[in-house]
């Protein structure tokens, strides 16, 4: 499903080369739930950015469904992004749109028909348990609820892959646990979930595959891992 082959990413700043990712290779198969962990500055966010094609690696290949996304043209990017759902720590919801509109917006920009929107959005909102808040504005919701909306928006395209970058970073433990269980449910439906986090408790409870990054290098890749420092 996803394969990284000797991926490196270096940023240059004032003649200084900063290596964010150094020769990373791994494979993720269909239906997996993978946590990418590591301390701040380990390269988690860079890895996420490469996976959603926000940035291009300095070297190496990233194959998703057999296609090297490094070579995607900018005109193809929107279509690629529709196949990959992304969730962020800061939710990235449009503050002037209601919950329903925020989710519907993702479909609108993709030239979906109104019938499709009317059919899909309530279903997804129901899945994340937010259907009763569909007419609220994001600011009227708690952090956990906002993150559910953000997940709903990521899922509305029915992506094969859901990438979550610190989705629980702004949440209290109870809300965080609920979001993680939501991610697990999504994973059970067959979606690959890639979770970047530095939350030890969450990773330890999940007992799923853990890729540990440190200083841009892959330190370990354990099938039923724990967050080992």
């Amino acid at each position: 499903m996803i394969e990284l082959v000797r991926v490196s990413k270096a940023y240059s700043a004032y003649n200084n080369q900063i290596t964010a990712l150094d020769n990373i290779s791994f494979k993720i198969s269909k239906g997996e739930f993978v946590s990418i962990v590591g301390p701040s500055g380990a390269g988690k966010s860079t890895l996420i950015k490469l996976l959603i094609c926000e940035e291009k690696p300095t070297s190496g290949k990233i194959l998703i469904a057999g296609r090297n996304i490094v070579q995607l043209k900018s005109a193809e990017l929107p279509y690629f992004r529709r196949k990959v759902g992304v969730v962020f720590q800061d939710f990235k919801l449009l503050p002037l749109k209601t919950v329903y509109e925020n989710v519907a917006f993702a479909l609108e920009v993709c030239e979906a028909y109104p019938e499709e929107i009317r059919e899909k959005v309530p279903r997804i909102l129901d899945l994340v348990g937010m259907i009763k808040h569909k007419d609220n504005l994001p600011d009227e919701l708690s952090g956990g609820e906002k993150q559910r909306i953000s997940i709903a928006r990521a899922l509305v395209h029915s992506p094969k892959i859901l990438i979550a970058d610190e989705p629980t970073g702004n949440l209290d433990p109870v809300n965080a646990a609920e979001i993680i269980s939501l991610l697990c449910r999504i994973n059970q439906r067959g979606t690959v979930v890639i979770l970047a986090t530095h939350n030890k408790i969450i990773v330890d409870q999940l007992k799923r595959r853990v890729i540990f990054l440190k200083n841009g290098k892959m330190v370990s890749d354990v099938a039923q891992g724990r967050y080992v420092i």
């Binding site: 990235k92 993702a106 028909y113």
Partner: protein, 304 residues
């Protein structure tokens, strides 16, 4: 692109314009000013051209005769002039006619009474008109030849020529100034509008980011901003035309007072006759600047 996308994109553009109404207002007003100045100078240039043409066509040579000159000598000269190919018309003005003209022109009663038919110092004259004002120089030259110096008192051409040349120099200066100012204002307007749209895009950076994130195509992100830019242009164009309309009718009494009714009438009739042309010129400039600035500003945020 289907009608659904088009309607969604247009809606987004209109909403954005309204949500950023203060920024939009600033851009629109700057654009309006630019359009006003450009069209004002275009109209002015054309009115000035017409007026100078009219002045040129009114240019003539008047030859004043000494009282000692015999009538035969004058009519002889009149015939000689009339036979010239570059002369269009030669009109003889007798002392009595000169008096009549004088009295018509003078509004001051005391001045009027100063000259009576009994004591009339006004000279007889020939008014010479040419089809092409440029030819007047040759005619003036012909008249200054020593053959006629015994009967001619004065030729009016030289004095007029200096005034007219000066007038033409001033009008050409105003024209150049107009082009320069129009250019400067277009540049200022482009910079301000560019800045405004950049600001508008900057305040909606996260929105653009989210749009990209959920898979909106570049076109879907760009076009609403382009619609905004177009709106600046269209609204500015309407404003400019309305202001010009009001302006011309307010200013024309002043113009009548200082420059004469013909200039004011010229201006009014020109504006009315060329309304469509002015409108579309403004629309073209406004929309081009608006769209250009939008395209340029959004470029940065669409790069990967």
């Amino acid at each position: 692109m289907n009608w659904l996308t088009i309607s969604r994109i247009s809606k987004l553009g209109l909403i954005n314009f309204w949500r950023n109404r203060w920024l939009s207002l600033a851009s629109t007003l700057v654009m309006t000013l630019t359009l006003l100045i450009i069209s004002l100078f275009v109209v002015m240039t054309i009115v000035i051209n017409k007026t100078t043409d009219r002045i040129k066509s009114k240019m003539d040579i008047t030859v004043y005769f000494k009282d000692s000159a015999k009538t035969e000598e004058i009519s002889d000269l009149q015939q000689k002039l009339a036979s010239r190919s570059d002369v269009q018309e030669v009109v003889y003005i007798s002392k009595e006619e000169a008096l009549k003209i004088w009295q018509e022109q003078q509004k001051n009663q005391r001045l009027k009474e100063l000259i009576t038919s009994d004591e009339n110092p006004l000279p007889r004259s020939l008014a010479i008109k040419s089809a092409d004002p440029e030819n007047l120089v040759n005619i003036a030259e012909y008249l200054t030849s020593p053959d006629f110096s015994s009967i001619i008192h004065k030729i009016s051409y030289e004095d007029n020529k200096i005034i007219i040349d000066k007038l033409l120099a001033i009008t050409s200066f105003i024209k150049k100034l107009g082009w320069l100012l129009s250019g400067v204002f277009i540049i200022i307007s482009i910079l301000v509008i560019l800045n405004t749209i950049r600001l508008a895009i900057f305040t909606r950076k996260s929105e653009v980011e989210i749009m990209r994130l959920v898979g909106a195509s570049d076109r879907f992100i760009r076009v609403p901003f382009v619609i905004e830019g177009t709106l600046y242009g269209v609204i500015a164009c309407f404003l400019a035309v309305i202001i010009m309309w009001i302006g011309i009718f307010v200013v024309s009494p002043l113009i009548t007072q200082y420059l004469g009714a013909t200039v004011a009438e010229n201006m009014k009739s020109f504006f009315l006759a060329h309304f469509a042309a002015i409108f579309f010129l403004q629309l073209l400039v406004g929309v081009t600047v608006g769209i250009g600035c939008s395209m340029f500003s959004i470029r940065k945020y669409l790069k990967v």
